[in-house]
């Protein structure tokens, strides 16, 4: 079902939504830095940055999340779990790649035989409102990674910026709740054509330039390749690419507190950190950046597809934009493809 939301009504619409739900949307922390965050007032919402620094996965899988509290009282340990989410949530303005990524993480956290309740609870209580990318960035390669700049799947509602208004598509049952909302007016017959126009333009820009097909098979043969000796060289081992990646989902479990009381926390962790795989004995199966970079790329493009039949990358390009030494994952993918000479030239 298609509707139209005037930009004039946007803030009042959000206000009405916020009466019943917690609203999460991109906000700008300082010029050029934005994250998804719970909104207190609709005027905080800021779509000006196409991709926020931290991806929308943070709403479901926070960087640092208490799993349970414990307290020792009279020799007994009391444990209270923190999985419950009290209010319904709305995630507004996530780009299609972020939403696609959420469904990828969902596969991991919901996979049998164990279900991650912390993720599930938040996912179940959240309505996703996607936002089409017009225009996408030059670092975007979502089409090559199996998505596209206007991918609807995963979203409950989907917005497209038409200049003076947003076109709103109600896509799922969760989304249909909004069908009676007074701010969502009848769609203009012109809208469809304009959306199509925007889509075509975006598709053209993103293109299918990255040879992602068959990468799983190619990497199967490349575990011991010379490729890894070179590709890692410039990596300095920071965690930007993994923390800003919408599909990375590794975490660490630590206790914070003392004997009497405290919390068990789950914090994001990164395979690029040497401590990630360091064993207590002092042995590290991934001793250098070579193995760690390989783990990162292999996990995304080989291990993940083996388990879930889809590459673990959605092509948002954050890791390309923010890498301090400018490691370009697209280039790495191209190098693995057959077009590349056996040894990198340099």
């Amino acid at each position: 079902m298609m509707r139209r939301l005037d930009k004039r009504d946007f803030e009042t619409f959000l206000e009405s939504v916020m009466e019943e739900c917690d609203l999460y949307a991109p906000v700008s922390l300082t010029e050029g830095v934005s994250v998804f965050k719970k909104i207190d007032h609709p005027n905080e919402v800021n779509f000006s940055q196409l991709l926020t620094q931290k991806p929308a996965k943070e709403i479901f899988f926070p960087q640092s999340e208490p799993m349970f509290n414990y307290e020792r009282r009279g020799g007994k340990i009391q444990i209270t779990s923190n999985e419950e989410v009290k209010r319904e949530r709305i995630l507004l303005g996530a780009r299609p790649c972020d939403i696609e990524a959420i469904s990828l993480i969902e596969k991991v956290f919901m996979s049998e035989p164990y279900t991650d309740l912390y993720f599930l609870e938040k996912r179940r209580k959240t309505t996703l409102i996607g936002l089409g990318c017009n225009p996408p960035l030059s670092t975007c390669f979502c089409s090559s990674a199996g998505g596209d700049p206007f991918l609807r799947s995963g979203s409950d509602l989907f917005l497209v910026d038409l200049g003076d208004a947003y076109s709103v598509e109600l896509l799922t049952e969760k989304g249909m709740v909004f069908s009676k909302n007074k701010f969502l007016r009848e769609a203009d017959p012109e809208d469809l054509r304009r959306i199509k126009e925007l889509e075509d333009k975006a598709f053209e820009k993103v293109g299918f330039s990255i040879p992602m097909d068959g990468i799983e098979k190619r990497l199967d043969l490349m575990m011991e390749s010379f490729f890894w000796d070179r590709v890692h060289e410039k990596c300095i081992g920071c965690r930007i690419c993994t923390y800003l990646c919408p599909t990375c989902h590794c975490f660490d479990i630590v206790d914070e507190g003392d004997f009497a009381r405290g919390q068990r926390m789950r914090n994001w962790d990164s395979c690029l950190s040497p401590l990630y795989s360091l064993e207590t004995s002092g042995h590290n199966p991934r001793p250098t950046t070579r193995e760690r970079t390989r783990q990162r790329l292999m996990h995304k493009f080989n291990y993940f597809p083996k388990i879930f039949n889809r590459v673990g990358c959605v092509g948002c390009g954050r890791c390309i934009q923010y890498c301090p030494v400018h490691f370009d994952i697209r280039q790495a993918i191209i190098w693995t493809s057959s077009k590349r000479p056996r040894k990198p030239k340099i």
Partner: protein, 159 residues
């Protein structure tokens, strides 16, 4: 409430001079405020700035580091090396906005029981004036992160 508040001061005393000095103050029955908690360290050069920061973060109102007078170090140069660290650290913390009075340094020899007591009096007074430490103190309720966004500048953050 204000009146009953007493500052907690953590004192790192060097084993060879200041600790003995504090001991002397005790055996000579010179009184000094009970606000200090003493940790004996081998040398003032042993003090890692992390100790001081960790103490402040854990809610200590003031930190005192005390060692031998220059030239008297049991390990010859420990306090000289320490002095450079302290000078830069103290300046840096003040620069960041942590009250300078919260981090104090002194040289107290084993014979200066009187000086020790006098100094603890002074420091306690000074820190009392500053009031309870607020900045940089980790509390249980401070776990929630609050961002200040561009459009919500008037809001207070990080209470």
């Amino acid at each position: 409430m204000e009146k009953s508040w007493e500052p907690k001061i953590l004192a790192f005393l060097c084993n060879w001079c200041s600790y003995a000095g504090a001991d002397l103050a005790g055996t000579s029955r010179i009184q000094y405020p009970p606000n200090i908690r003493v940790i004996r360290v081998p040398c003032s050069g042993r003090i890692n700035p992390l100790f001081i920061l960790k103490a402040l973060q854990s809610g200590i109102d003031g930190v005192l580091v005390s060692g031998c007078h220059p030239g008297d170090c049991h390990y010859l140069s420990g306090n000289y090396i320490g002095r450079r660290k302290f000078a830069t650290l103290k300046r840096f913390l003040e620069y960041l906005g942590i009250e300078g009075g919260r981090v104090q340094f002194s040289w107290v020899s084993a014979a200066e029981g009187g000086k020790f007591s006098q100094m603890v009096h002074e420091i306690t007074q000074e820190i009392k004036k500053l009031g309870p430490a607020k900045r940089f103190v980790k509390r249980e309720d401070s776990r929630a992160i609050k961002f200040e966004t561009q459009n919500s500048k008037d809001k207070t953050i990080l209470k």
